[in-house]
Symmetry: C2
Subunit: 455 residues, 2 copies
């Protein structure tokens, strides 16, 4: 039986996927702005042998609900929010094994400086960085970057493919192995004959020069992706090494997982060339009754306006204009598709009202909530992994550090007893830890096959 | 007598202002890619009560010399180079007082995400971050960002003024004091009535929304600037709180300092509203003879090609095509002006050959080198400060950690004995430490006076 993998799903903001829970007396997410908070959290996750801290990000505001940012501001629905990259270096210095999967939207920065940022993180973490490739979904982000409106969904993926092409050329091919000599005696730091300008000239980007950074331990960071639309799944099939998905039932997660495995094979890779994490929230304690009690206490700190502000941002629908008892319909618009599909597709015969959907996303976002004793939660986790073909969980939280401390205390030992959790980290980069092979991209990956055009 | 202030002038690269010195057996700058290197350096500087670590940056390659990057690569002339922002958070966690002045060129990123990055750094450092405002000077950087060529010198300053206007609106005016309540009991994190969209619509940028970050300890980071051109000095007069300058003689530094003080007054500020640091390299040891010996050893590790690659990048002149004994002429092109002015203006009657200029910049860049015993160096420093009107030094290095360790061991105690160096840090943000007043911009600063246009 394969081990079950854990990521922690967090964000550089107050709360995250459990809007309103910042009011819980135990929640400390309002300390997100302090470096000590991140160091402490990273150490907790590393002690519990998590694969990675997965850091979400949005560069905009959830301002669809009520036609403005008021509800999001009042309830701290992912606002205020700080830069996700900048918390990693301090955590890297305080840990040895934990990975860091950081979200960064490629529509908002040129690939040339972004390539340097990620190479720098890969150096500073000694090869423990991952990048969650996002193409942006909040209209407010596009507006504040001076774009008249968002780039269309499919166009975004075209741009993303070229963006990745530029990055692969810089990361994988600009500096050959052995280019850096550090030869003090002969006074040669880098052998210039082994460093190549990438000469990229594409539809969206022109990058003639060399990469500014020497090769980092992984060169290309471990690539995360979360697309479940047909175009998104195809993109993930080509590029992703870790895929993150959200859905409320095993049925829908199994379908997503199958789609992802199929997309990998369609792209000429192996079905298990990507690790799949499904979003989930764990509420646990020593006994079933205590866990239920904890869950009820969390529920009392949820907030309908906060939940609807989040759901409105995801779907583009202003639920302040809807009767709370009206039925949610399926919407085909970018991320809204994913959000609403979670409900409407999980059971085609079940209709969800606005009120029910708000309640569902109030704790742990669009994934399931596993409430129970260590045995009950571990049973549930095993059944999800074994029945859907996923590899593990992207664990959202109700409160920090409580949720992750409980997982470390109750669930990790239980899964270890069942031989369903690693007993120690292996040495090496994040990619080596995840796949047990080399530090760099495997040879069948598109990033290795991308070539500099010498013409 | 006012205390003499020290910054450390470094860069996230091998070497920096002493090209070739990475070959010295004691130099450890090739460890720039490791987070431990930065933490150790930050602790050394904090123990020596430095104001700040001033981190330079270029996003391009010194590829003028010989018409390509070969010399720069071979001798590690500021290439490879990593992102400057990302080393700060780990150092912030390991120190309590040291400031971090980071260089970032505003022509290469949109102000909206940049505002978030700097607010994040100000939060993570608890108000110890400064920003060295640069408008970009390497042609290769512009090319790799898909710009056909660099923006012209004066146009860059127009763009810079608008860029700062957007930042001031976001940092100073989008979130009122008291907007963030963190009121768990009443479930109000932020009072939405105290958060304002900035509605910026300018020639270069359109930013309608609110700042994504809650106010950080300093709001606006301490603003550094290095312009000595007329347009650059006027820009510094309006915006800068710390000014950094380079020149080989007291005569020229005195003129620059006077120009800067005049520009401050012209902009409606006080002449001492900015702190001025002049670049210098200190080579010291217990005795004069030992210091001279150390200096000679450093000189043996300089490299003419490396120095000329640096000088060619600064001036835009390919010195590989020049007779080494030909005379340098004054050049009016962007940063080249500053670079060559250092030589040709310092003594109008003195002519510099290419060879002499290369030798001059080989150690410590365009500033003076103070070689001697603690007494001799301290005498020299006092005379520079007292005769030119500067406030302190931006200290380049020959080797790391050697140069800064020597300053901590020999110069800091000597200056303390003379009552010309602080005996302890004061509490508070970087701005409070520097000016002994509030954490935020003073009321007479343009950033406080900039207003959101409510029309």
């Amino acid at each position: 039986m394969k081990p079950i993998r854990f990521n922690a799903f967090v964000m550089n903001t107050v709360g995250h996927q459990s809007p309103g829970l910042w009011t819980h007396p135990e929640d400390r997410t309002a300390d997100y702005r302090h470096v000590e908070y991140w160091i402490e959290l990273a150490r907790l996750l590393e002690d519990a042998l998590f694969d990675s801290m997965f850091i979400a990000d949005v560069m905009g505001v959830y301002d669809v609900y009520g036609g403005g940012p008021d509800a999001a501001l009042r309830h701290a629905v992912q606002i205020p929010t700080n830069d996700p990259l900048l918390v990693i270096p301090a955590m890297a210095a305080a840990t040895r094994h934990l990975g860091f999967g950081v979200t960064f939207s490629l529509t908002y920065e040129h690939p040339y400086p972004f390539a340097r940022r990620m190479s720098t993180l890969d150096h500073l973490t000694k090869g423990r960085v991952g990048w969650n490739i996002v193409t942006g979904y909040l209209e407010s982000a596009a507006k504040n970057l001076g774009m008249p409106t968002q780039i269309g969904h499919d166009d975004r993926y075209d741009l993303a493919d070229e963006y990745l092409e530029v990055l692969y050329k810089l990361w994988e091919h600009s500096w050959e192995e052995g280019a850096v000599l550090r030869d003090k005696k002969n006074g040669v730091f880098t052998d210039p004959s082994k460093v190549h300008p990438i000469r990229h000239q594409g539809r969206h980007f022109t990058v003639p020069g060399i990469h500014l950074c020497e090769p980092s331990p992984q060169r290309t960071p471990v690539l995360f992706q979360a697309g479940t639309s047909p175009r998104g799944a195809a993109f993930a099939g080509r590029h992703a090494e870790c895929v993150f998905m959200s859905g409320p039932s095993k049925t829908i997660i199994k379908r997503y997982a199958n789609d992802t495995r199929g997309a990998l094979v369609n792209a000429g890779r192996r079905a298990d060339d990507a690790i799949i994490y499904a979003q989930a929230l764990v509420v646990t304690a020593a006994t079933s009754a205590e866990a239920k009690e904890k869950f009820d206490a969390y529920l009392r700190h949820t907030n309908t306006d906060a939940s609807l502000a989040l759901l409105a941002g995801w779907t583009g629908i202003d639920f302040s204009r809807c009767d709370p008892d009206s039925t949610l319909e399926y919407v085909e618009n970018d991320a809204g598709r994913t959000a609403l599909a979670s409900f409407t597709k999980s059971d085609p015969n079940r209709k969800w009202t606005v009120r029910e959907a708000a309640r569902f996303v109030a704790l742990g976002g669009r994934g399931p909530v596993f409430v129970g004793s260590p045995t009950e939660v571990a049973d549930e986790m095993e059944s999800w992994v074994d029945e859907t073909g996923i590899d593990g969980f992207n664990l959202a939280f109700a409160v920090i550090p409580g949720t992750f401390r409980d997982i470390a205390r109750y669930i990790v030992p239980e899964l270890k007893n069942r031989q369903r959790y690693r007993s120690a980290y292996t040495e090496g980069t994040l990619r080596e830890k995840l796949f047990g092979r080399g530090a760099g991209l495997p040879e069948n990956h598109i990033g290795r096959k991308t070539r500099i055009d010498w013409a």
